[in-house]
Subunit: 228 residues, 2 copies
Amino acid sequence: MENDFTVNMDEFLPLRDVVFNTLRRAILTGELKPGERLMEIHLANRLGVSRTPIREAIRKLELEGLVTMIPRRGAEVAQITEKSLQDVLEVRRALDALCAELACDRITAEGKTSLKKACDHFEEVTRTGDAVAIAEADVALHDIIVQATGNQRLVQLINNLSEQMYRYRFEYIKDESGHENLINEHRMIYESIMNGDKEKAAAAARLHIDNQERSIIRQIRIDPRRKN
Amino acid sequence: MENDFTVNMDEFLPLRDVVFNTLRRAILTGELKPGERLMEIHLANRLGVSRTPIREAIRKLELEGLVTMIPRRGAEVAQITEKSLQDVLEVRRALDALCAELACDRITAEGKTSLKKACDHFEEVTRTGDAVAIAEADVALHDIIVQATGNQRLVQLINNLSEQMYRYRFEYIKDESGHENLINEHRMIYESIMNGDKEKAAAAARLHIDNQERSIIRQIRIDPRRKN
DNA sequence: AGTACAATCTTTGTATACAAAATACATTGT
DNA sequence: ACAATGTATTTTGTATACAAAGATTGTACT
């Protein structure tokens, strides 16, 4: 029998994970800007913990590519160059296409109903124009497809790669002129998966990335987000 | 059994990186077996360092997927299941194909000569039958192709994914019946890249992975490498 | 004024100390 | 004999202490 005081799962997370999530969020939202130094004591005071969990969190951010270590100088938020973004997107193009193909074969009946719901919901939310809601609906939709592959490694990789672009996604979504396009792309992916048409699904996924790429690269040229 | 993975003090890397490399190597060579617990004090004594660098190394191994954290129990070497290997290979199939395609477009003149050399060398070494040399030649060959893409993110991902299978590669290479096949596959990839035939290169890369998959899965069924 | 050098200050790298949780084991009560 | 409980031990989680490497600043000398 469960007792009825609700437990905040965060309380059970080790501090390092709380810090990790906090810092990651701060980096991805742009609160911590590229080139900004991550000073341990400063962060420790700010977050009210000791240096140890800060350091462990930084180790993980380092391996994730969100921070760069400079020997004997510590960590700083990784610079995002146009090249590095293109590299990420090039990989994502291949992996998203793979996802779409695999999803065609492996999506379950429940998966299909979730997918339909998510697709409809995205369309609905996009027409209202609330950027936050659109972003969430977009993530939810893609997550269903990725999860449908049943490949945990693929899920992990795509999530990681997607993260790298969260900083730009927001402005990219705010550009309303692309909304109709976005809806169509999603719909195309959705329909292909429903029909089990792997070729078409993969092509649609690639197109979707291509369009994102154009949009994001344009953003980055307007707002290079450099510290200096 | 006295497994003495010693710290290479010659390196002037931070201790955490030395420990990280040491532990990773130990895991990939099978010196540390799946399910084995990584106890901090024990490792610290064994490597002659304190717990701090051990912990930081473990955080990175955790994110790399080589160790699993069990809440309030610590780290253990990640189990390799047939499923997890298939997941990795499924991703690699896509990424290796991408590599091959990109290499077709982007390989330089020097790249081509290196590639030819590496290909010839692989063939030569394979005919002699020295497993270690074969493994090295294989890595060298693939590395040239991966590097030729000029995509650092892709390089990093493929290296990481390849690692997951190093434990099995050795026995897979020792199976001499597959050598002729291996040479042919490499030659096919090589020629396609030289001719800039993306389609063919990608197909060859996929075939190469498929054959590896069969071989490795067979190995894993013979030797499940479980602790218990 | 400009440069070289030294003192200081900051920040990281590493080690250790202390606290809390989990496990193993013994002890007690029925 | 067995279950429950308490205690010791182990191990992780977190904090702090100390040392070493850079960076900074100020000063003296040219």
